[in-house]
């Protein structure tokens, strides 16, 4: 096997690994946005996809990009998402906080099957 072939295989492996893991993170973040109980907690789940999922998918695409210009453009999109997503998340959180939204600070426990009948367990 020549060096160019090994390089090509390494690139493919990086691309496949990064994109698969990134896909898992994006889907998990979307499921978290659906499942979590309260606005402030949902924000965290959206952050999962915005940071690691997006960056990993972009890394995977860079690894299989043909020319350097495409790679640089993809890296630019990644940098832009990396810089703007925390700012947007902070802006949403700050707007909700200033508007008087109170975060629910209770302990969200799973219902134990033993006390499913009583009112204990949810709060």
């Amino acid at each position: 096997m020549s060096a160019a072939e090994i390089f090509q295989h390494a690139r493919d492996a990086i691309s496949i690994g990064a994109m698969a893991v990134g896909l898992v993170f994006v889907i998990a973040g979307a499921i978290g946005v659906m499942r979590l109980p309260d606005f402030y907690t949902r924000m965290h789940a959206a952050g999962v996809t915005d940071t690691l999922g997006a960056e990993l998918i972009i890394v995977g695409l860079i690894a299989q990009a043909g020319d350097w210009q495409t790679a640089v453009k993809l890296a630019l999109v990644g940098l832009l998402l990396f810089l703007t997503s925390p700012t947007a998340t902070h802006a949403i959180a700050n707007a909700a906080h200033r508007a008087g939204q109170k975060p629910d600070l209770s302990h969200f426990k799973p219902k134990h099957p033993a006390d499913a009948g009583s009112s204990e367990g949810q709060k």
Partner: protein, 105 residues
Amino acid sequence: MTFLTFLVAIGMAVAMAIMLARLFAGPTLYDRVLAANSFGTKTVLFLLVFSALVGRQDAIDIALLYALINFVATIAILKFFRYRSLEIALAQMSLRRALDGEYEK
């Protein structure tokens, strides 16, 4: 390779559908803004994957623009719903800055 890229595109579409569900269901305004912002991020990723899938580099430029517009739109929506107007906020800002003497510095 192409199959995985296609799978990622399908996954992005599923995540966008879930975000749309949260956008319509979200009890508060902020849930909806959060869902819209996250939907925009997934649209950017979908555009990137799409450009790799069909081999057209134009879609990357569109994705770059979409990322910028998504950020600005989120900030503009939040600002509008805090002040109920876009120009009042600007006027207040410049007034406060003039009162603080920021311009003299």
